[in-house]
């Protein structure tokens, strides 16, 4: 049975099957894995079999031998898959807009500073992720904004 997962914001397909003992196996990136798990504490499992690793997890966060990753089902995914290809510059987190450095109609290059915001008591500069023209600015100086909302829209230049 094919199944899609979102791992670190990237879509990954695995193939689930049952072996002769009735245990779940899966194929990932061309390789078949069979395994056993045992719960070792409230948040950790020891995965044995083909994989010998201590895995801790909470909600969609997993730590495998110290390395962090997020794993989610596509239909339950809380994080957006990489969407920055579009020209929407978003706030990384809730904060306050300190300075708007561009106006609608301005031509900007990748890396140009667009907005300075304050979040967690530090200044963050929102930069253009591509060349383009500023088509909309959604906040003005002094306003509070939520996390993950559009701050500035860029329309792509036709070269």
């Amino acid at each position: 049975m094919k199944k899609k997962l979102i791992i670190n914001s990237n879509e990954v397909e695995i193939d689930l099957s049952l072996n002769r003992d009735g245990k779940v196996e899966f194929t990932f990136n061309g390789k078949q894995y069979s395994f056993s798990n045992r719960k070792v504490d409230a948040v950790s499992q020891y995965v044995s079999g083909d994989l010998n690793a201590l895995v801790s997890s909470f909600e969609n966060n997993f730590i495998v031998d110290g390395k962090e990753m997020t794993i989610e089902s596509p239909n339950r995914s809380r994080s957006k898959t990489n969407t920055s290809a579009g020209g929407h510059m978003q706030s990384p987190m809730p904060g306050k807009i300190l300075q708007v450095l561009v106006k609608v109609g301005d031509t900007v290059s990748e890396g140009d500073s667009l907005i300075v915001m304050e979040a967690m008591k530090m200044e963050h500069t929102i930069k253009a992720n591509s060349n383009g023209t500023v088509s909309a600015i959604h906040f003005s100086e002094g306003q509070q904004c939520a996390g993950g909302v559009d701050l500035v829209d860029l329309s792509q230049e036709e070269a």
């Binding site: 199944k3 899966f26 798990n37 948040v43 997890s57 997993f62 031998d65 110290g66 390395k67 794993i71």
Partner: protein
């Protein structure tokens, strides 16, 4: 000793939150002193609000009405019967007006005199004082004329690169390095804006920017009987945007002679201004071992635990003792450095995405298991990390018989302290201490920029991802839908097989 202290100070109000409130509380408990803490209405689930002997709500509102509200805090102290107030660090710890009000209210302020705080609290005043007692200073402009043309002329005179710094600043806020004359105006405007936002004051000073510098600081402690001691150095060269990330002691850059010289200079300062209590003298040291006075922090420092580990002392205990008017119970020659200690600061941020601050719910903090490893954290399982307070979640402090051992312990312990649920710089810290330059002691304040290539994330291997998938497939909470689709298999999987 204890009864003498208790007769003066048997109850302390801790005017702070998070890990530092818990740190001060720990010493109170060890000394049999009752502790009183304060919290805002949104912090009822955080341990500083319920682990003390008494705790009082500050209500809700901006910091000026809660943790920075002088009158309210003093009122709570009097109401609770506390004899003294410990300010921790940050918040009111270096506010001389508050210290005065505390004393005027008949309470003991655990810290230096308001006068010392005033001298050292302003970077300009402190440098003038230091010049008087012949302490080496970095070339710079500390004048009152703040017009852009004068500041720019001063920068040109000193020679680029220069550092623009908020006079009232700290923690890297309101600070900019300017490499070229053309960049000066923009950098000045930005530094002034940040300074005004953070400190309500946009006076700046300009200094020669020293390249390849190390940040070396000396812990001092003075009593009111004329004893001015030092507890050796800490090296805090590993910084990002002027915020310390990794601290260690002893410093690899000091030999016995240099160590003696820098520590004695620090004591010349503390005795020169007749200081009282715990303080830290910060120096910048160039590649030739020439050091210059940067500033003195008139409080306990975030990274004080590494000094405690290496000198086997409790600095908060000594602060309380001095505040009670007692004499320090040791002589300089009794204080020795033993082994090596490293502190790493765990921040809720994503180092692999431009260090964006992260928020979320901590599912599991985790705890270190090795000997002589200390986790100073203000969070417990289930706590939310919000944008309301500093993104530092915890400090992990590892002591080893030597530096290599301290590094090994740091690497291992960072795997144990997981802060599951929130994105942290945990893996990034591991990358820093595991680099060859760090292991060789090649630590300069630009370390993180210089070696950014060595600090890039290592992609998880297929095997590691597969282990994550295996765990995901069998974890109930994330896997409602698959269970229904393939219920037979999942029923079989529920009985984990021990192999």
């Amino acid at each position: 000793m204890s009864t003498e202290i208790l007769s003066k100070i048997d109850k302390i109000l801790i005017a702070n939150r998070g890990e530092i409130a818990l740190r001060v509380m720990k010493t109170c408990k060890e000394m049999g002193i009752k502790s009183v803490t304060i919290y805002t209405e949104t912090e009822k689930s955080y341990p500083h609000s319920y682990l003390s002997d008494e705790s009082f709500s500050l209500g809700m509102g901006p910091l000026s009405e809660t943790y920075l509200n002088h009158e309210k805090i003093i009122e709570i102290a009097k109401l609770s019967g506390a004899k003294a107030i410990h300010p921790g660090y940050g918040f009111l710890s270096e506010n001389s007006t508050f210290a005065k009000k505390v004393t005027d209210a008949g309470l003991i302020f655990i810290g230096p005199t308001p006068h010392s705080m005033e001298i050292m609290g302003d970077k300009k005043t402190s440098k003038v004082e230091m010049e008087k007692i012949k302490i080496p200073l970095i070339p710079g402009y500390h004048g009152d004329d703040q017009s852009e043309s004068v500041l720019k002329a001063a920068a040109i005179d000193i020679g680029f690169p220069v550092l623009v710094k908020a006079s009232a600043g700290g923690g890297g806020k309101g600070m900019r390095v300017v490499w070229k004359e053309e960049e000066f105006s923009d950098a000045l405007a930005s530094a002034k804006r940040e300074a005004l936002n953070s400190f309500g004051d946009d006076i700046v000073l300009i200094e020669k920017f020293i390249q390849n510098p190390r940040h070396i600081e000396v812990q001092v402690m003075s009593d009111t009987h004329g004893n001015h001691l030092h507890f050796y150095e800490r090296e805090c060269s590993i910084q990002r945007r002027h915020q310390k990330v990794v601290e260690e002691t002893p410093s690899m850059a000091l030999d016995d002679k240099l160590r003696k010289s820098i520590c004695e200079t620090a004591v010349a300062i503390s005795s020169g201004i007749n200081y009282k209590g715990a303080g830290t003298v910060e120096f910048i040291m160039d590649a030739d071992g020439k050091f210059f006075f940067l500033e003195m922090n008139t409080r306990l420092q975030v990274e004080h635990p590494i000094t405690e580990m290496v000198t086997n002392s409790d600095l908060v205990r000594l602060q309380i003792l001095v505040a009670a008017g007692l004499e320090l119970p040791m002589k300089q020659e009794d204080i020795t450095q033993s082994g090596h200690a490293i502190e790493v600061r765990i921040y809720s941020e994503d180092p692999d995405n431009n260090f964006m601050p992260a928020i979320g719910k901590i599912g599991h903090v985790g705890s270190p298991t090795l000997n002589n490893v200390r986790l100073d954290s203000g969070y417990v399982d289930g706590n939310e990390v919000t944008i309301d307070f500093d993104p530092m979640l915890a400090k992990l402090i590892c002591w080893g018989v030597d530096r290599d051992s301290a590094i090994s312990k740091t690497l291992h312990s960072l795997n144990e302290v997981k802060f599951l649920g929130v994105t942290t710089n945990r893996d990034y810290l591991k990358r820093i201490v595991d680099t060859t330059p760090f292991r060789e002691g090649d630590t300069y304040t630009h370390f993180i920029d210089t070696y950014s290539d060595l600090l890039k994330p290592v992609e998880a291997t297929d095997l590691e991802i597969a282990a994550g998938i295996a765990s995901f497939l069998t974890s109930n909470q994330t896997e409602g839908s698959t269970k229904v689709e393939n219920s037979q298999a999942w029923n079989r999987l529920q009985g984990f097989r021990n192999i």
